[in-house]
């Protein structure tokens, strides 16, 4: 059984498709919607998106594999993305990454066995004035230190 979009998402897809003179241009918006609904974009999801756009699934794969925000595999309930670029590096981001590795017991790129957390290190998030910074799913957190990370993670159920 291939997964199916909710009615609300189907409506959104129609609206998105109407914005562009060529259907394929809607691929990124569609992939964002797909990832939101199904958690990732694996072969199954690639096929559905390809069908909507009238293109081959390999064309979808080409796009998915180019963009770092698109996940071909499921991530944990909370996806922690820590910036490791220069402004954050200068504010000791590496220490925080080490702390998170130890606290969660995983390496960057991995997910905890209970599927609660995925840890990723990323390039500049555009929040350099709040360095060191990170995202948990789509929320930004800045001016981080170990204590703040403890408080943040403790709140996540």
């Amino acid at each position: 059984m291939s997964p199916e979009f909710s009615d609300q998402t189907k409506k959104k897809i129609e609206e998105v498709l109407s914005r562009y003179p060529r259907k394929e241009a809607a691929i990124l918006p569609l992939l964002h919607l797909t990832q939101r609904e199904f958690g990732c974009i694996s072969n199954e999801e690639e096929k559905i998106v390809a069908e909507i756009l009238g293109i081959k699934p390999i064309k979808v794969r080409e796009v998915v594999s180019f963009y770092t925000m698109l996940n071909p595999k499921p991530v944990g309930k909370y996806h922690i993305q820590v910036c490791s670029n220069l402004s954050c590096f200068l504010m000791e981001a590496e220490e925080l990454i080490d702390y998170l590795k130890e606290k969660l017991g995983i390496e960057p790129g991995e997910t905890t066995p209970d599927k609660k957390f995925t840890l990723t290190t990323v390039e500049c998030l555009g929040a350099c004035d709040q360095a060191p910074s990170m995202m948990i799913n789509f929320d930004y957190y800045g001016h981080l230190d170990k204590k703040k990370i403890d408080e943040l993670l403790d709140k996540l159920k």
């Binding site: 060529r22 990124l28 963009y67 220069l86 200068l90 555009g126």
Partner: protein, 415 residues
């Protein structure tokens, strides 16, 4: 304090809502442009204002608009570059989250001037919350009759859409952006043809940065001469400088073009963090050639920085302290570019990952004689030898660091 222009109203509560914006600022510029001015007059004003692009290259906006052919029967497009991927840069985030209607006004006037009826705002994927805010602001503007059909009963139509990227630095490069918007991998195109003649969906396209577009309304309201007085004769207006790194008060500082870099760091951003000493500065994002501590007595405008063999770029100032090893800086720099190279051009794809490998080996204690010359050779082979300027953007920090801090880097290789 210096007079603020773009960020003047940022402290107003709920400025992002159209009721507040209408009350305090107004869509006055749109009204004037659409009702009282001809497109040619607007173009003349923007040209005379010497508004140079705020995205990185500093190309004059009016000149760029003037390149768009007017005698074609294809649609034309505007793409607002809100990808904000240059490390150290966060100014567009402030404009869009605090004052989205200012940018929307700029979009409307730009499109009216160039004869465009569809605009896309290409915003980096991570800025999801800001994308939602923009969509909200756009829908408010439709309701008030500033967007859609027959705007302000002038017969002018315009649709604006927000398009989210998905995490790729190269999609900030204008032709990478176009490819990405068309639904492909963000592989930059060979130029010419330039986007002004063949751009999005093969149609004439204007691409401008968020801050560039947001400057348009005040040029319309106050005129080119006024705008030039706020900056320099060849470089009008202010810049929103983003300061990050080891300073007391990181943040955005809107100041006239030509403000001294030393003042920005030590006067406006509060100087170095307690107990830290200045070592080096990236004056215009991480792609700009680095400046040493004794080179920062310099005016921050396009031409002065070119003279100092660096660049103003996105005006993102990254401040590095004495305790930081330049080898570590190189490690971060080269990791970034090897990750973000799109892979099309061999010098950039192979060069960046090769240099990154050498740096990592040096950092692990395996440095060899000749490493530095090898790095310089590889980086020089990227300069000007790639389809898009990412090759240069990577080579410039690498070459400037190895040149200016050669002794220090050498000390890590000699063992």
């Amino acid at each position: 304090m210096e007079e603020k222009l773009l960020t003047r109203h940022f402290d107003l509560k709920n400025l992002y809502k159209i009721e507040v914006y209408l009350k305090e600022v107004g869509y006055q510029a749109v009204k004037r442009a659409l009702k009282e001015m001809k497109p040619e007059e607007i173009l003349e004003e923007v040209k005379n204002a010497n508004l140079r692009g705020r995205g990185g290259a500093g190309f004059p906006a009016g000149v760029k608009w003037g390149f768009v052919p007017q005698d074609v029967d294809k649609p034309k497009y505007l793409c607002v570059n809100a990808d904000e991927g240059e490390p150290g840069t966060f100014k567009d985030r402030y404009i869009m989250s605090h004052n989205p209607h200012l940018m929307i006004e700029g979009i409307i006037i730009t499109c009216f001037c160039v004869g465009i009826h569809t605009a896309f705002i290409y915003i980096r994927g991570e800025y999801e919350a800001i994308a939602l805010r923009l969509e909200q602001a756009i829908s408010e503007a439709y309701k008030k009759g500033f967007l859609g059909k027959n705007i302000l009963e002038t017969g002018f139509d315009l649709d604006v859409f927000v398009h989210r990227g998905a995490g790729a630095y190269i999609c900030g490069e204008e032709t990478g952006l176009l490819e990405s918007l068309e639904g492909k991998r963000g592989h930059p195109r060979l130029k010419p043809p330039f986007p002004a003649s063949i751009g999005l969906f093969q149609c004439p396209t204007v691409i401008n940065n968020v801050e560039t577009i947001s400057n348009i309304p005040q040029i319309i309201l106050n005129g080119a001469e006024w705008f030039l007085k706020k900056g320099l004769p060849k470089d009008g207006g202010t810049r929103i400088f983003g300061v990050s790194g080891v300073v007391k008060n990181p943040g955005i500082y809107e100041l006239p073009l030509g403000t001294n870099l030393k003042d920005i760091i030590f006067k406006y951003a509060g100087g170095m963090k307690e107990g830290k000493k200045l070592k080096a500065v990236f004056p215009g994002g991480m792609s700009a050639p680095i400046l040493k501590a004794d080179e920062i007595n310099i005016k921050m405008d396009f031409d002065s920085l070119v003279e100092a063999e660096s660049m103003l770029g996105s005006a993102a100032i990254i401040v590095i302290d004495e305790e930081t090893s330049m080898l570590d800086v190189l490690k971060v720099v080269t990791r970034f570019y090897s990750h973000e190279s799109c892979g099309q051009c061999t010098p950039c794809r192979i060069g960046n990952s090769w240099i990154n490998k050498i740096i990592k080996r040096i950092a692990a204690g395996g440095g060899k004689r000749g490493d530095i010359d090898n790095i310089i050779r590889l980086a020089s082979n990227m300069m000007g030898k790639t389809l898009c300027p990412l090759g240069d953007a990577a080579a410039m920090p690498i070459l400037s660091i190895t040149k200016k801090f050669r002794k220090e880097i050498e000390s890590y290789t000699a063992n």
